[in-house]
């Protein structure tokens, strides 16, 4: 869908007499006002949206009636689209603040849940002074995709994504946002992506949970920047345990000097081995090492930590103890 400015420009290039659109108070919405020309040649043709928003087509001289009707239709549809977008942003802001009554909630669901479900994407940066520019970049990146509404807040940007989008698509969008912001604004960001929801009733809760994903990701995986709620379930559980209790559990169950002084190579081997579902073949390939070298390293880990990572139980113990350690730190 074309923006109203683009549409006006295009119509003007075909019908030069058509100059633009003004609102009920005479403010220019799109086009030019030709202030230097005598006003008596100006023609105004009213158009209404949602029965209450009145705009005028502003022309220099009369235009054929049929042409005006066609113009009204095209511009009406473009203005309606803009108006809906504005409403969506306002409604999402109200939902974020939990300031919406039941009747409005029903209307909001009609407007925002036409595709039955939605996902939230929360973008957070450290440099507050770049928030406005970030908003510009994100808005332009999503413009006209037909499924996203970008909402700026004082802490970051929320994107309301209508309908079902696959994890790959969301990840690809997240990467694209990050790379674009990195290269345009020279700042880094973290992105949290929520689960899929189908109701707006608990929107504030969903919003806060999406914000929390970024916090969780930062604690457990600071080297990464895009986090999915569905990947951080265990981390969320561990993070919710009070700090003192976490420390107690860690010391009682898992504490060994080795956990604090674990060699880099060993740690990477374990991490890649667990990420590759304990597959010797895939891990050796991912680490660019021979399978025998991997076997040697796993034996060494077994000797030092007392955990045979080839068994699911021991791998789970290591994973939890390692996450607890990160969480405690």
């Amino acid at each position: 869908m074309k923006t109203i400015k683009e549409l006006v420009k295009e119509v003007n290039s075909i019908i030069p007499a058509f100059k633009g659109i003004i609102d009920g108070e005479g403010r220019l919405i799109a086009g030019s006002l030709c202030k230097d020309k005598p006003p008596e040649n100006n023609e105004l043709y009213p158009i209404c949206i949602n029965d209450n928003l009145i705009y005028y087509l502003y022309c220099r001289g009369a235009i054929a009636e049929d042409t005006i009707e066609l113009l009204k239709l095209a511009i009406n549809s473009s203005l309606l689209n803009t108006s809906n977008k504005k409403s969506k942003v306002q409604i999402i802001k109200s939902l974020m603040d939990n300031e919406i009554d039941l009747i409005s909630l029903e209307a909001a669901e009609e407007l925002l849940l036409s595709k039955n479900s939605f996902t939230l994407m929360w973008i957070q940066i450290n440099e507050d002074e770049e928030l406005l520019n970030l908003h510009h970049v994100i808005k332009e990146s999503f413009k006209g995709d037909g499924y996203s509404t970008v909402v700026a807040t004082l802490q970051g940007i929320l994107i309301f994504i209508e309908g079902h989008k696959s994890k790959e698509k969301l990840l690809s969008k997240g990467k694209s946002i990050r790379d674009t912001v990195n290269s345009e604004l020279y700042i880094d960001l973290r992105i949290g992506i929520s689960n899929k929801y189908s109701r707006l009733k608990d929107f504030k809760k969903y919003f806060l949970e999406t914000k929390e994903i970024v916090e969780l990701g930062g604690v457990f995986y600071p080297e990464e920047h895009i986090y999915f709620a569905e990947d951080l379930k265990v981390e969320k559980l561990l993070y919710a345990i009070p700090k003192e209790l976490k420390e107690k559990i860690f010391i009682e169950l898992f504490y060994k000097e080795i956990y604090y002084n674990i060699e880099e190579e060993m740690l990477k081997t374990i991490s890649v081995f667990i990420d590759n579902n304990l597959s010797m073949r895939d891990t050796a390939k991912a680490l660019f090492i021979h399978r025998n070298t991997l076997a040697y390293r796993l034996d060494k880990i077994n000797k030092e930590l007392g955990l045979d990572l080839r068994s699911f139980k021991d791998a789970l113990i290591f994973k939890i103890s390692w996450l607890l350690k990160k969480s405690v730190q």
Binding site: T3, E140, K175, S176, E184, P222, K268
Partner: protein, 369 residues
Amino acid sequence: MASLTLKNIKKVYSGNVTAVQDFNLEIEDKEFIVLVGPSGCGKSTTLRMIAGLEEITEGELYIEELLVNDVAPKDRDIAMVFQNYALYPHMTVYDNMAFGLKLRKTPKTEINRRVREAAKILDIEELLDRKPKALSGGQRQRVALGRAIVREPKVFLMDEPLSNLDAKLRVLMRTEIAKLHHKLQTTFIYVTHDQTEAMTMGDRIVVMKDGVIHQVDTPLNLYNYPANVFVAGFIGSPQMNFIDGRIEKEADSLYFAFKDNRIKLSGEKAKILQSKAYENKEVIMGIRPEDIHNEKAIIEKHIDCTVEGKIEVSELMGAEVYLYLKVGDQSVTARVGANTKAQPDSIVRLALDPEKIHIFDKESELAIF
């Protein structure tokens, strides 16, 4: 234009995850340097530290002799092009290139000058009024490069910018970027996991693994004189063959022996091994597929350097054939002429070029030669 110095750079994330360590590198002004290595080797982290997008945990980074560890990314005079670039769908090519400058409140006349100059360099002047959807993949990639060029930076940082393109376009854009470097005469730092990209584009290549530099050299030197088994295996396609074996002495000669095979080593190479006391020691022998020959004349010439193998698969590549063989219990790949008559399941004799043999220490995996 700028030179860069990275001194003892280290990156450690919380939780003691070391991404990069002991990174020392001098990058010359106008140099095209490529950081290459497998996924997770720290190449992107290094590039992001240069950009200022990642904090440097330890070490010093100088751009033109100025310590920039604490200089904000936007003040480092760099421009970046990343893998997942996205053009703004509703903006024209002109506006896509101008957008970053507009955000930085650059005067309109200056924006206009820079966009038109960049468009001229990239040969996309006639596309300035088009929207991204009306562009081909290659044209979009050029616009993405244009967004970086309009910054007029001292250093270009590129992180896998061609990875999302199809194979044909990737080859084309490789040449375009090399040409661009030539035109701009600016320092380029380029990250890729693709060794072919690295070999064809870089003045020098930095090979990384596990956050550590394994070798820095020109493409040709890396290929001919790899510092260790990892570099030897990573650079070159099909990759170098590695065979575990032992150095044995008979009469005055040294041999590389494995299973029932013995390869006589040339006098010069034997001398090096003797001087380093490798007699009767386990080593790894490396030989590139193109240094294994099946022509009768070469076999006769190097009769002491031949092995017998059973062909498992034969792949015709057009101008050449890749033979995948079993020599004893070792898998070996040979790259021979397309006129070979060798068929799968047949036994063939092959000669190893004695001058092209590499020997690596079994434990450290470092190259002896």
